[in-house]
């Protein structure tokens, strides 16, 4: 019954700007992989800890990808309820990781897909957060992590992913770590979202009530 909270940081090249979103460009690179795995039936605030951060600037991209992949590959057969959790992790983190794992030939594409998408469960907090979106069209629209965190009074990270590349180029690695630790509030966000859903509240209802 494991919860694998995940976040990655990627490199934005000056010329190939979409290198940060597309894992298959010549300039694409994962700079850091942050995660926390809790082998628990339920998680609660008291067990939350700082995430493990695998750093490209210390070990190289291939090594951090190998370490992440080994973790998942060994754990998934042992934990039938293993689930990845992240913010936009389906569209971004897991997809980008899959591309980089294939590029570095860490395993066969078939196995990589199996360990990233087929075998584990995935809870994308970004997708779930869309039910909170307060927009005039009353549609389920995309919502970013800062807005969601703000709604739940959770800490909001300073800066954006672009800053990570700037820090990386300037070798300001402690600033990257600070950014990651501020961004990594997924456990609390998961708990807040879960409780919110079970209370059957929405942002709109909340706003009306507060008025």
């Amino acid at each position: 019954m494991g919860y694998f909270f995940l976040d990655i940081e990627t490199y934005i090249d000056d010329e190939v700007k979409y290198s940060a979103l597309n894992p298959f460009t010549t300039k694409s690179k994962v700079i850091a992989i942050a995660y926390n795995y809790y082998n628990e039936f339920k998680i609660s605030e008291k067990i939350i800890r700082k995430p493990t951060v695998l750093k490209e600037w210390e070990s190289g991209e291939k090594k951090i990808l190998q370490d992440f992949y080994t973790f998942a590959k060994l754990k998934i057969p042992d934990d039938k309820h293993f689930k990845y959790l992240g913010f936009n992790c389906i569209k971004f983190d897991l997809s980008y990781l899959m591309g980089r794992l294939i590029t570095h030939e860490i395993d066969t594409p078939e196995n990589i897909y199996y360990n990233l998408f087929t075998a584990p469960h995935i809870i994308d907090l970004g997708q779930i957060s869309q039910i909170l979106s307060n927009n005039k069209f009353k549609e389920i629209l995309n919502i970013n992590q800062k807005t969601t965190n703000s709604f739940f009074d959770l800490p909001i990270k300073q800066g954006t992913g672009k800053d990570v590349t700037k820090f990386y180029k300037n070798k300001e690695f402690d600033k990257i770590e600070k950014y990651i630790s501020e961004e990594f509030s997924f456990e609390l966000l998961y708990l807040k979202l879960k409780r919110h859903i079970y209370k059957k509240e929405t942002m709109i209802k909340n706003v009306v009530t507060s008025n």
């Binding site: 926390n36 080994t70 973790f71």
Partner: protein, 271 residues
Amino acid sequence: MLSQAIKQEISNYFKKQNYQVLDLFYKMPCNFCITVENWDKFDFFPDILLKKDSTFNFCFIILSEKEIFKCNEFIKEHSFIQNYKIYFYKDNAFYEYYNEKYILISKDINPLIEKFNSVAKTYKSKNDKFAEVRQMGKLGEDKLINYFKQTNKKHFNLNFNAPCDTCSEPENWKKFNKLPDGILLETGKIFFFEAKSKKNRLFIINERDYKEYLDKNIFFPVRVFFLIFDYNLSKCKEIFYHDVIKKDYPTSKQKDGNITLDVSSNIIQIQ
């Protein structure tokens, strides 16, 4: 034990030659033990680790030529380390065995069997907690070795498999040679590794142990693995490691009187 006295004397010889020496050989915590005398299940691994400048060597000290085969088998099996030496002792002299020749190192080795006094039992020993601690410890070591095998990490154990492992009556437990659990090769770098089994996510290390790890850092860095088990020890839930470095960690005093360091700010999760 005569073999222990010989190894100690050779270790002392190298210390006098300004080597940094880590004794890896078994040291009996009692003045006499019939079980140890007849014990033929000791694990086989190098007896001392020598370091001078930046060069290190794992050294076997053998008392019989028959053991050369065992040494060579070990060296072959653990060839991820290339720095091995074999020393042979006979009649107060010791030789380096190299290229099937014996090169005299010293002919002035005079082993002495030391008698020592008993010391008071520890809290855990008095309260018969050792059996439980040892069982948990063994479980953690086994799980960790299994993890190394699953991930193809090269390693060897430094566990004696001595009868003392299940004995709660050592005369002087301080005399027992307490080593890290083994040697690990990780991304081209050699580490000592140590497994710590826990039933909860308390990333604490006994301050006294931590000082010993720091002392060993002059040979190789020490990596402490925390294996988190469920309450009835039926499943290893998570594995973390901590690389030992000198730093001010938060301390606390445990009910057994030990001071512990909280290293939770410096851990990496691997399972």
